[in-house]
Amino acid sequence: MRLINQHIERDGSGTVTLYPEEPEDMWHAYNLIRIGDTLRASAVRRVVSETATGSTSSSRVHMNLTITVEKVDFDSQAGQLHTNGRVKDENKYVKVGAHHTLDLELNRNFTIGKAEWDSVSLGVVKEACDPAEKAEIGAVVLHEGLANICLITEHMTVLRQKIEVAIPRKRTGSVTAFEKSMDKFYDTIYQSILRHLPIENLKVILLASPGFLAESLQKYIFAEAVKTDNKTVMTAKPKFVTVHCSTGHVHALNEVLKSPAVIARLADTKYAKETKAMESFFKMMQTDEDRAWYGPKEVERAIEKGAVATLLVSNSLFRSNKMQERRRYVSMVEDVKASGAGEVMILSSIHESGVRLDGLGGVAAILLFPLQDLDESDEEGETDGGNEDNENL
């Protein structure tokens, strides 16, 4: 993403013009555009004109439209963002108040106007426009009969394909059915990798499984590549890394990303850092319960006391449509930053680590010093907090 123009007033209102370059930028846009914001982007609209004699003709007209956003919808599979709202500025084809669905397109400017640009939103803009080299990896997690093929980018984990194959178990006297269907299973995965992962652009392709499946799969892939003379796979041979994990479900990616083999290769990537932070939170929970807290109420109290060392927030919280709620989390982030002692990490809610954090209500904190009974002040307030958690999920 490139920042084309930024115009923000003293009171925080203003507009930002951005130029998206890759599908991931749509994810950033999704995190920026709120209901109530204005959005100006190029649009195609079917215009019906009526001549004096009463006959009508319709034509497709390219134009720039400004809408007040009423609905935002992100499709992570296709990397597309659909926004919906009422037209704000009239032009010769469209009246004010007419509905329009704006689909943001790659390589076309769009302008977001907000009544209030908070630090988190500006942070998203800054992060999105960071020109640092992006590390994308492919990951296949599998166990017998189940494989998930995922693409992990800096800010997103996209499940490209889930493969479920019925594999007969070994039975006394007959293992052929089992071995045959295992071969078929490997083949399905191999074909799916070729189809869904851009092997040339990936830094690493992780094959993760319990037991020996990943190794067998790796062997199968190379054997098949040689057989079919697939140059891309053969040249990418060093990119394939086998990792151990305990299941083939998608959430095993947590385990995969924290394994030493992966950390060694990808230590400086954002998702590796996020995974590590979540891991240290859970570790703290087990070793020193009073230094790890989660839930908005509890964390808020910890912030008041200036105790937060690391604040983990899922960006799903900032997507809330309630202004008040969004402000609450923004102020939490700002308070921690202002205290000087704390570090803030905003986790992407579609990474596995973010999913884990969302399970805890979207916000968690590791404290500098132990605090007790942050949750035990008022019973009523607590139930409130619980409800909000549920909404966020």
Partner: protein, 641 residues
């Protein structure tokens, strides 16, 4: 212009209809008094024409009395009505009559809508068609008729129909417009019910697979004395404790595996430099397992002793394959825990991350109460009593804390490789300090757990495969609850595809029925393999369980728990889910709530949590035993609330 046309046509149609409706009204009004009795009689007669249609459709013989009775009724009630004509004609025109009888019998709805007319349709077809016309042509006519002024001179078509309808329902007995008496309605209902009985007898297509309607529970009680009880035992223990070798030895000594096979395995194993694995190859049959010398999946084998029949489930010990081990343990009546007694090995299995402990906890939490500890590889320790006692002491302590009662735990010194004290007594003086039973003798004392065989069927599919040319779809598993017999209609939850049981094999022998506790292969008909998944639960079609998307579970935590992603295991079922809410921690003694909404649940505590399933709903119900795993560790075991 248009409206004029319509009105002319409509007027014509109206006039025609009016004539017909009047006819109906005429016919109906005198019949009113006897309409109910007619209905009754008709409904009683109902099965007759139905039977005849099925057996000898064109024959008129058996219909004659039916029609003559009808005729009687009609004659009695409406001597002058033109309706008589078709009735009188019928005997001379055999053609259309059976056709009318072949018609599907009216539904309850149609019955109440059309009342008598439908009944008459079975005897007098033409009359039905007429009145049907009257009824259906009313709507368009009505509109036009209003325009035609003369329409108001006579009762409107609606009135005519209502009159006809109310009469045919027997309302006119008490006069038009009055509500039908309750006794009338009751008798009509009776008639409808009688009709329905007739319907059902006709409906089911002749079933391909006859259900013998065996009283399985009674049969089971009868055969109890004749049969040897079958018991499932799961073999568990740390990796490389010698589980497969021990079981291979047991099968060999019990004569299940012949000498030649063992010799073959020995030669092949020696070739790849793993001669000591020869016995394990009896159970480890896939190439991968043999090449690596590790059991990956459960191997199922059966053997028989003079006193009992046993099915062995040889579980993998490697921690990666615990899901497979859970699948085996879920089918077990009791467990054989194999322990490597050689120096350092016992300790390795017994430490925090060793599988000796994890397995023992798992089988206990899945309901296994009886455990036999086989202290293996004692030959390497020169049958050292001290080592045996040391292991025995440590293990008893642990097993007691894990929830096994002392009387249900026994210790057997043995060696899988040499075969001492497994099926045969060790040579004299080899284990001078031991005079107890051999492993097999100890097994014989273990009794299978009694199961609820009267309850609705539940069976988790352990495997789906092609059972041969004649049985394209076969599933196997152990019946957990209930009973099943050939011809039963079953359903695989969470799917909703029905199948018929074509054949049952209990312990590889064909049977007509099976009950809880049996290891069965079910040959199915009327279903494709794609609809059956390993881990699905088989139920009777009339009492299926309702799959759950979210549920509450009472769990015993083995590790620290927060709201987090987990794997849910139940037998072969392995699904991903999430703990959404920690509801409360409970007191272990009396089950009372110690803390509501805890932030996290510490290891060893009892708690109630909410779990949401990530994918499709799971076939779980109240009382299902589940195991929760995360990051390769068993984090909790519990019961669905």
């Amino acid at each position: 212009m248009q409206s004029g046309k319509t009105s002319k046509l409509a007027a014509l149609a109206k006039a025609r209809n009016k004539a017909k409706a009047e006819k109906v009204a005429e016919a109906a009004s005198p019949a009113a008094g006897t309409a109910v009795s007619l209905l009754d009689r008709l409904s009683k007669k109902k099965p007759d024409p139905l039977q005849t249609t099925r057996e000898i459709p064109p024959s008129m013989v058996s219909e004659v009395p039916n029609i003559s009775k009808l005729e009687q009724v009609v004659e009695n009630t409406t001597p002058d009505s033109p309706k008589n004509e078709p009735v009188q004609n019928t005997p001379s025109i055999p053609g259309p009559e059976p056709d009318a009888l072949l018609k599907a019998s009216p539904s309850g709805f149609a019955k109440s809508m059309f009342g008598r007319r439908i009944d008459e349709a079975f005897g007098v077809e033409e009359e039905f068609t007429d009145s049907q016309l009257t009824y259906f042509s009313i709507a368009p006519t009505q509109k036009a008729a209003i325009k035609a002024k003369q329409a108001f001179d006579v009762p409107s078509p609606d009135d005519v129909v209502i009159a006809a309808q109310s009469q045919s329902k027997g309302i006119s007995k008490t006069g038009k417009g009055e509500k039908p008496g309750s006794s009338t309605t009751a008798s009509i209902q009776k008639g409808v019910e009688a009709l329905k009985v007739g319907d059902t007898s006709e409906k089911p297509a002749p079933p391909k697979i006859p259900r013998k309607k065996i009283d399985v529970v009674a049969e089971y009680e009868k055969s109890k004395s004749k049969r040897k009880e079958n018991a499932n035992l799961v073999v568990i223990g740390h990796v490389d404790a010698g589980k497969s070798t021990l079981m291979g030895r047991l099968l060999y000594d019990c004569g299940v595996v012949d000498e030649r096979t063992i010799q073959k395995y020995k030669q092949e194993a020696e070739k790849i430099g793993k001669s000591s694995f020869a016995l394990a190859w009896v159970l480890d049959q896939t190439g991968e397992e043999r090449a690596r010398g590790v059991t990956i999946d459960i191997a199922v084998n059966a053997f028989e002793t003079p006193r009992g029949r046993y099915t062995i489930l040889d579980a993998p010990g490697h921690r990666d394959f615990i899901p497979n081990m859970i699948a085996g343990a879920a089918q077990a009546d009791f467990a054989v825990l194999v322990i490597d007694s050689s120096p350092g090995e016992f300790e390795a299995g017994f430490n925090v991350r060793g599988q000796t402990k994890e397995h023992a906890l798992l089988v206990r939490s899945m309901g296994v109460q009886r455990i036999i500890v086989a202290v293996n590889k004692l030959d390497l320790m020169h049958w050292d009593k001290e080592r045996f006692d040391e292991i025995k002491q440590q293990m008893s302590q642990f097993l007691t804390t894990a929830g096994f009662q002392a009387k249900n735990v026994s210790f057997i010194p043995c060696s899988g490789l040499t075969g001492d004290n497994i099926a045969r007594k060790p040579a004299d003086g080899l284990i001078s300090w031991y005079s107890g039973p051999t492993l097999v003798e100890e097994l014989e004392t273990a009794k299978p757990v009694t199961k609820a065989i009267e309850k609705p069927l539940r069976m988790t599919i352990a495997d789906v495969y092609r059972g041969g040319v004649t049985n394209p779809v076969t599933i196997s598993g152990r019946i957990e609850i209930g009973n099943i017999q050939v011809g039963d209609t079953i359903i695989a939850v969470p799917g909703d595809e029905k199948a018929t049981v074509k054949g049952i094999e209990v312990d590889n022998q064909a049977a007509d029925w099976a009950v809880a506790g049996n290891n069965v292969q079910l040959h199915l008909a009327n279903i494709e393999m794609e609809y059956l998944k390993i881990g699905d639960v088989i139920c009777q079609a009339d009492s299926p369980l309702v799959p759950l998307k979210e549920f509450e579970a009472k769990i015993l935590a083995f590790e620290s728990l927060t709201p987090m992603m987990i794997d849910i295991h139940r037998g072969r079922l392995n699904a991903s889910g999430r703990i959404t809410k920690l509801v409360a921690t409970l007191d272990k003694g009396n089950g009372s709530v110690t803390k509501k909404k805890p932030r996290h649940i510490g290891p060893g505590s009892l708690a109630v949590v909410n779990i949401a399933v990530t994918g499709a709903p799971l076939p779980l119900e109240k009382g299902s035993k589940i195991v929760l795993r995360a990051d390769g560790l068993t984090v909790a075991a519990g019961v669905v609330e």
